[in-house]
Symmetry: C2
Subunit: 218 residues, 2 copies
Amino acid sequence: VIEMRIAALHYERMTALDLVGPCEILAGLPGAELISVAAEPGPKRCDQGLVLVAEHALADVPRPDVVLVPGSSDPSDPIGDERVRAWLRAASAHARMTASVCTGSLVLGAAGLLQGRRATSHWAALELLRGFGAEPVAERVVFDDPIVTAAGVASGIDMALHLAARLAGDHAAQVAQLIAEYDPAPPFDCGSPGKASPEVLSAARELLGVPSPAAHTP
Amino acid sequence: VIEMRIAALHYERMTALDLVGPCEILAGLPGAELISVAAEPGPKRCDQGLVLVAEHALADVPRPDVVLVPGSSDPSDPIGDERVRAWLRAASAHARMTASVCTGSLVLGAAGLLQGRRATSHWAALELLRGFGAEPVAERVVFDDPIVTAAGVASGIDMALHLAARLAGDHAAQVAQLIAEYDPAPPFDCGSPGKASPEVLSAARELLGVPSPAAHTP
């Protein structure tokens, strides 16, 4: 079993599920070691109110094998923090894979890691990737090795299973999926903009503070 | 908008995704307020290594509207803690709904809340529910009002959407699903025992320390 150190970036106002979903899948892989890191170690309040603790400073984990970057409804802290951006550039240069979930891809973009790359993000933030020189791709999981980006929040679990298969093989990924009992059965089929009703999409845009495209129609 | 206080029980070795998945869905509902509670407030190390912080003591939140109990690969701490069991009995007596994920149902059972009720749990723990007077049901989400139990880990997200629809209506639940971009697309179809290959099921049982049924066959 090859050792696999997974650095999970923490920051204020991150979306807890972006981080916890993939960690639940990846941390049980053979040889995996999960390491929580932040520019300032300590407790971080997530955007829905839960508190997660980063136990290590970025400098403690210069060469992880896997880098995991969660998103946030407001990722301005890591986007504006040169310590985070510099660590991401250096760590990802040596990592087997660098992964983001949701608007975590904007953080990778701000670090300069998505220039000329195909990438995805939360549906409401997808077009913002262009500002970082990336080509937005409206897919749930986008590999542009050695970077993988996932769409919004819950897509991180799907991304992590694809990533687990790459890192540890299909068998290990399938065992992780069975242990997590990830046999999804949502009560509604409205989890992406193309499937939701206009009323649901409009309400989601309003809650997210995203202008409706209709507002720009003359 | 009616106020809805959601008490999320924290404890040592809990499974982070059991708690974080449902919280991500429920915390954004109209009027929702997420409150982290534990017998001893403070940081709790989850079974995959992440650290979540409980900010309130159980006595601070005697009458939540919703009670959420995560599972664990080893839920012996809350099962053996009369402070937790007594709080669960008292809180659930007044709550609109009491919800568990994964082996969180064993914690509800230990508190005496599942006597004569239909309930579910992680597939590897399902039969243990009989020891608490419950009828094990091999379904992903089981309502026996005012208690709802979910199967393993990731099923908590499905449960939370059903619960959100009960608490706040289909529209609000659908908006939550779209914001979380929960449009699942796992790379494998092996997330429950009946769908996994014998090799994957056997490996999962071994990792979980669950004896294989085959071992009992003469």
